[in-house]
């Protein structure tokens, strides 16, 4: 009887300790996951922000302004356009 009790007690202790360890691990993993999720959101937002910035820089009004005023370009006109036909 004593042996059985002692074995069970030992088992109980091991279980209790492993529970604590598992909880500790779970917390750690949870924190890591939270961090990763925040990172994911952040990267996603960065991507959206960059896409928006790129769009802002490539909007028609700006392209026209830069082309006309900085690069001194003129609109194309049919008189100065050569239309090429693809060989059949």
């Amino acid at each position: 009887m004593n042996r059985a009790t002692l074995t069970l007690l030992a088992l109980l202790l091991i279980c209790a300790l492993s529970l604590v360890a598992a909880q500790q691990r779970a917390r750690k993993l949870f924190v890591a996951q939270e961090r990763a999720q925040i990172e994911e959101r952040k990267l996603n937002q960065d991507w959206l922000r960059l896409e928006y910035e790129q769009r802002n820089l490539s909007k028609s009004a700006r392209i026209r302004d830069v082309a006309r005023n900085q690069l001194r370009m003129v609109p194309i006109s049919p008189e100065r356009t050569l239309y090429l036909k693809e060989a059949q």
Binding site: R27, Y52, S58
Partner: protein, 590 residues
């Protein structure tokens, strides 16, 4: 004598009654019983209440934000996107009452509110309260560094519109809660809106999440939406309208560009416009999508439909000639032309825009019912179903109610009304060999079958007549576009002011291009041009010309005009072949 001890002198013996000590014992026992009962209550039956109270201190419900869908143009360019912004929340049961004054002051200055306001907000009974919405990321970072317990930052989204004014009336805007208020943002709210989720978490004293208890709802992001509008063409149209309104000191202007093959709206521009990124100016007149919400009498732009009805009936041909004269009396007031004409062919009635001619065609060859059927078949009197709030149907009274003077005046565009959009759509029947094309604002670049209104022969005749309008002798030589043959019809309508017609005008031009194989239908309206000419041919036609030329080049449509086209070498025109139309196919990579 019995010795008496000093300490036990009988004089000092207290004769206490037995009941007093009993009472004391009982009271003590009673108090202990009360404590025991209380302890039992807290541990046992009353436990749930205290447990909930404990959880309230450490558990929180956090929102899992869902983003609103993006709006893209036909080439996949972003025209509305949501970027993260922080909102500052106070959890009032966690914020300490004895918060240091300098921290309160700093927080108040970061939030740009007064210290007393902030203190009042922190004392409110509500569990959590928004201190400020949509804070800039840098400010949010500074607030976080203050490390005030119970002050948290929540993720929110703010809407950005890169195209600004040019696209404002198409996309519309959202309010501070990210709910669509105007334009596509409003009409496609169901599709665009995201649905936030919720989760319960355990937090520590500083509000940091240490454990997740459970997810109540998963967040659902909104769906992206791709429109048929091309931001380049939209900008071209907006710019052309804006310049014309400024040059002619007009009140407003609009332009609509429709792809006649697919029925897609390529541009829908209005001026004055507004910047949807700036919340301060999101009220008033400039919000109106004039091309869709304003009703006007279409004036001479209706004449081609009157003539089509008569051609379709077979009672006239383009070369039928008729006497016009200086005036034509139907009802009380005589009908006159701007420039008196003698004898004109039907084609010249269109080319010279003769009111008398149009009225005579209606009175001599058409019944009110036939006219009504034509105008109704091309969409007048019915609100276009493209999902914009406030798109008007216009008025087209039942033909039974028309008297002779109504019939004569409706033939040249007075006595019925519609929106500029309806005019642009109606003109697709000339471009599509007699079919009215179904219209869409969402990208769908395949050819669409339409509803037949007139025969292909009539449509061809009309195209030839419409082209003469833009040729020498016509009313709109200024509508000619570089490299492309165009056709269309001018309109100059007296504006209804109160009950009569004042000296205010609307100048229109509606047309199609290129004439050899029409690809787009364009309608332009300039409202109240002042200073100089107010004729459609002088005010609206140049806008049409600018839009058509640039739009067709943007769409890679091959020029069909030989008149202005000269080759670079002496060997005659260079080989001309349709450049394959490349529509950019940028699919978002999310």
């Amino acid at each position: 004598m019995r010795p008496v001890g000093f300490s036990t002198t009988p004089n000092l013996v207290l004769r206490l009654p037995m009941w007093r000590s009993r009472l004391m014992l009982f009271l003590l026992f009673f108090v202990f019983m009360m404590l025991l009962l209380r302890a039992f209550w807290i541990q046992g039956p009353g436990n749930a209440f205290y447990e909930a109270k404990g959880v309230r201190g450490t558990q929180r419900e956090l929102e899992l934000p869902a983003s609103r869908g993006k709006i893209l143009d036909r080439n996949g360019q972003v025209i509305a996107t949501s970027l993260e912004a922080k909102s500052v929340i106070a959890y009032n049961d966690t914020v300490p009452d004895d918060l240091a004054t300098d921290k309160v002051q700093k927080l108040a200055s970061l939030l740009q509110i007064s210290e007393s306001d902030l203190r009042r907000k922190l004392k409110e009974e509500r569990k959590q309260i928004f201190l400020k919405r949509q804070v800039d990321p840098e400010v949010a970072q500074q607030i976080k560094q203050l490390e005030i317990p119970g002050i948290g930052l929540n993720n929110e989204y703010r809407r950005f519109y890169p195209e600004g004014e040019a696209m404002a009336h198409v996309v519309g805007f959202t309010n501070v809660n990210d709910i669509g208020q105007e334009g596509i943002e409003y009409s496609r709210e169901d599709q665009l809106a995201g649905h936030a989720g919720q989760r319960r978490v355990v937090v520590d004293r500083l509000g940091r999440v240490v454990e997740e208890v459970g997810i109540d709802r998963l967040p659902q992001n909104g769906k992206d939406l791709q429109l048929s509008v091309d931001s380049k063409i939209q900008y071209i149209a907006y710019n052309a309208v804006k310049n014309a309104v400024e040059d002619h000191h007009a009140k407003a202007g609009s332009a609509v560009v429709i792809d006649t093959q697919t029925g897609e709206i390529l541009a829908l521009a209005n001026f004055p416009s507004y910047n949807p990124n700036d919340r301060r100016y999101l009220t008033g007149e400039q919000l109106r999508n004039r091309a869709l919400t304003d009703m006007f009498e279409p004036g001479s732009t209706i004449k081609p439909f009157t003539v089509s009805a008569a051609l379709e009936k077979g009672s006239i041909t383009p070369s039928t000639s008729m006497t016009i004269g200086a005036s034509y009396l139907v009802g009380k007031k005589p009908i006159t032309d701007t420039h008196p004409n003698g004898v004109l062919t039907i084609a010249q009635v269109i080319q010279k825009s003769s009111n008398i001619g149009a009225a005579k065609i209606a009175m001599n060859y058409l019944s009110p019912e036939e006219m009504w059927d034509m105008y109704s078949a091309v969409g007048f009197g019915q609100a276009p179903k493209i999902g914009f709030r406030g798109a008007v149907a216009g008025t087209l009274h039942p033909y039974e109610k028309w008297v002779a003077s109504d019939q004569a005046r409706i033939a040249f565009g007075y006595g019925l009304s519609g929106s500029l959009f309806q005019v642009a759509r109606a003109y697709t029947i000339f471009a599509r060999d007699g079919e009215l094309v179904p219209i869409t604002i969402e990208r769908s670049p395949e050819f669409k079958p339409g509803t037949r209104v007139i025969s292909a022969k009539t449509a061809l005749d009309m195209r030839q007549m419409l082209e003469t309008v833009t040729q020498p002798g016509g009313t709109a030589v200024k509508a000619q576009a570089d490299g492309y043959r165009v056709g269309g019809k001018t309109g100059t309508a007296h504006k209804l002011v109160g009950k009569g017609y004042g000296n205010k005008y609307l100048a229109y031009f509606a047309g199609i291009a290129p004439i050899s194989a029409p690809r787009i239908s364009v309608a332009v309206m300039i409202d109240e041009p002042t200073g100089g000419s107010y004729y459609g041919g002088d005010v609206a036609a140049p806008v049409f010309s600018a839009i058509v030329g640039e739009t067709l080049r943007t769409l890679n449509v091959l020029p069909d005009s030989n008149g202005k086209q000269t080759a670079l070498d002496d060997k005659g025109p260079a080989e001309i072949h349709t450049a394959s139309v490349q529509t950019q196919h940028v699919v978002s990579k999310r």
